[in-house]
């Protein structure tokens, strides 16, 4: 038999709260991502796309269904081996770096947790990988721009040499020109390091640019799965996807068309 998919999500259900405040954030969502593939989750706020990522890495409780990485079922607290395999990049580069830790400390901490040797060299290499000058090493996050911070966050995620990178809207807090640079960086890194991406965004164009296949989500449910070619040729089934596509083209004055 061929190798198992890198990520397999089966009927994943995530709920929060109890009683009247009970919310089903993710409702029986399934998809699989092959090794080396880039897979996109797209939807608006409340669609549950980010919750899927958080459930995979144990930051949100799995209520039903299961998540498998390389055929291994994930249960209970995530192990150290898991953290070597799967890493995440967060949306807000201002909130995901500890404001009082220098870049050096941010990058060396995962190395010391996992007992890596040759830390100095690895940190310099990681900074180089994400296109940052080694002079940044002893700065504090608030001395960096948003784009530079996101590069640091990517360097931190990659310093443990994971095979899977979960990306939670990594560019939505950035300017358009910086977004292009970060997307190019992510594309290059995936090629160089044979990474598997699970990419979450509200922006259909970004997902289409970055991913081989994608899943449209709405209100915690999967709407439809498609390849990027289908999106370009407008070969879509649901009205919701069509509405999203239309919205990403900008404003159309009623009656002008």
């Amino acid at each position: 038999m061929s190798q198992p998919p890198r990520i397999e999500v089966e009927n994943l259900t995530v709920t929060f709260g109890e009683g009247r405040r009970h919310v089903v954030a993710v409702d029986r969502v399934s998809f699989r991502v092959e090794p080396g593939e880039s897979y996109g989750l797209v939807g608006e706020s409340g669609s549950g796309k980010s919750t899927v990522l958080r459930a995979i890495c144990g930051l949100a409780p799995i209520e039903g269904g299961r998540v498998l990485i390389d055929g291994q079922n994930l249960t209970g607290a995530r192990s150290r081996a898991f953290t070597r395999q799967v890493q995440m990049v967060f949306q807000d580069p201002y909130g995901s770096l500890h404001p009082r830790h220098t870049i050096d400390r941010i990058l060396s901490e995962p190395l010391s947790i996992h007992g890596f040797q040759g830390r100095d060299q690895r940190i310099t290499q990681a900074l180089e990988d994400v296109g940052l000058d080694p002079a940044f090493r002893f700065r504090l996050p608030h001395q960096l721009s948003g784009g530079q911070r996101q590069r640091i966050a990517i360097a931190r995620a990659l310093i443990l040499e994971p095979t899977v990178l979960l990306l939670d809207e990594p560019t939505s807090a950035l300017d358009a020109s910086i977004q292009a640079e970060i997307l190019n960086l992510l594309t290059r890194l995936r090629r160089e390091k044979q990474l598997t991406y699970l990419f979450v965004s509200h922006d259909l164009a970004v997902i289409d640019h970055m991913c081989d296949r994608l899943l449209v989500m709405r209100g915690g449910k999967a709407v439809e799965e498609m390849t990027d070619g289908a999106l370009a040729s407008r070969d879509v089934d649901s009205d919701y996807t069509r509405a999203l596509m239309k919205a990403s083209e900008g404003f159309v004055r009623p009656g002008a068309a």
């Binding site: 608006e44 300017d175 358009a176 020109s177 910086i178 292009a180 190019n184 164009a205 970055m210 919205a247």
Partner: protein, 279 residues
């Protein structure tokens, strides 16, 4: 063209920092008539500061300077605060980015709209109610009676922003400054809010300054676009002709956006040049 509604010449906004004065806006000049003008730029380009400076909302230590800043023939700087308040709100209004922060969380929507109405004149209770309901209906809120008694946290983001627009337009201003009015909203909601804004501006013949980072949105929504870079306007262009933009910065901003069906090739990135600083 007749005399413009708003005329700005050599506008500067300066902040004194530990490392010396920092100019957030460096000599910006433009006119706005009864039309939709977009101001586009990335963070730090001074686009929001420009909007605030027009309304005299730059807080110290920021300083505003201009060789001309007139609204409908009245010179705005040096106007007594009282008169400035009359202009602000009644004749020029401003919609901010996030309704969660710009609406008062402990006041019902009805009271906040009433407050906006009461600042200018003394309408009766019945009149306030009628005008509020009409205005909410105009921003296409289906259940205006209920929204009037609701608190901001009981509204969704799109609803909140519509309430904000209603509040700003209920005094029938001649010029609306909208600073990223839809950036906090989902794309589908965003278009709905823009449609309402577009309809109101057109029907009332208002002037609109639309400040945004989203070139694609601005180019489809506005008549004219001012592109700002590091506190200066580097290019002014008709929105429909944006694809023929001359300035490399504008071109770069347009090209670096991924598009559906654009393939997976590397996106062109902006190579910033020092020469643009003095454009």
């Amino acid at each position: 063209m007749s005399a413009p509604l708003l005329s700005v010449r050599d506008l500067t906004v300066t902040f004194d920092t530990r490392r010396g004065p920092f100019e957030a806006v460096r000599g910006v000049s433009f006119d706005v008539g009864r039309e939709r003008v977009g101001i586009v730029g990335e963070s730090g380009s001074g686009k929001s500061m420009t909007g605030r400076a027009i309304l005299g909302l730059v807080r110290p230590p920021g300083r505003v300077g201009a060789s001309r800043l007139t609204f409908d023939g009245t010179e705005l700087p040096g106007l007594p605060e009282r008169q400035m308040r009359t202009i602000r709100g009644r004749r020029i209004s401003m919609v901010m980015q996030d309704p969660r922060y710009s609406l008062n969380p402990v006041m019902t929507v009805g009271r906040q709209i009433a407050e906006a109405l009461r600042v200018h004149g003394r309408p009766s209770r019945a009149e306030i109610r009628k005008r509020s309901l009409d205005m909410l209906a105009e921003v296409q809120i289906r259940d205006p009676e209920r929204v009037l008694t609701a608190y901001p946290h009981e509204l969704s983001g799109g609803m909140g922003q519509r309430v904000m627009i209603a509040m700003m337009l209920v005094t029938q201003p001649e010029l609306l400054i909208a600073d990223e009015p839809t950036s906090a909203l989902d794309v589908t909601v965003q278009l709905e809010v823009l449609r309402i804004l577009d309809d109101l501006v057109r029907r009332r013949g208002m002037g609109l300054i639309f400040i945004s980072h989203d070139l694609r949105l601005v180019s489809t929504f506005c008549d004219r676009v001012l592109v700002m870079y590091r506190g200066r306007i580097v290019e002014e262009i008709k929105a429909s002709l944006l694809h023929q933009a001359q300035h490399p910065y504008t071109q770069g901003l347009l090209n670096c956006l991924p598009r559906i069906g654009g393939g997976h090739e590397a996106l062109p990135t902006l190579q910033r040049q020092d020469a643009w600083n003095d454009a």
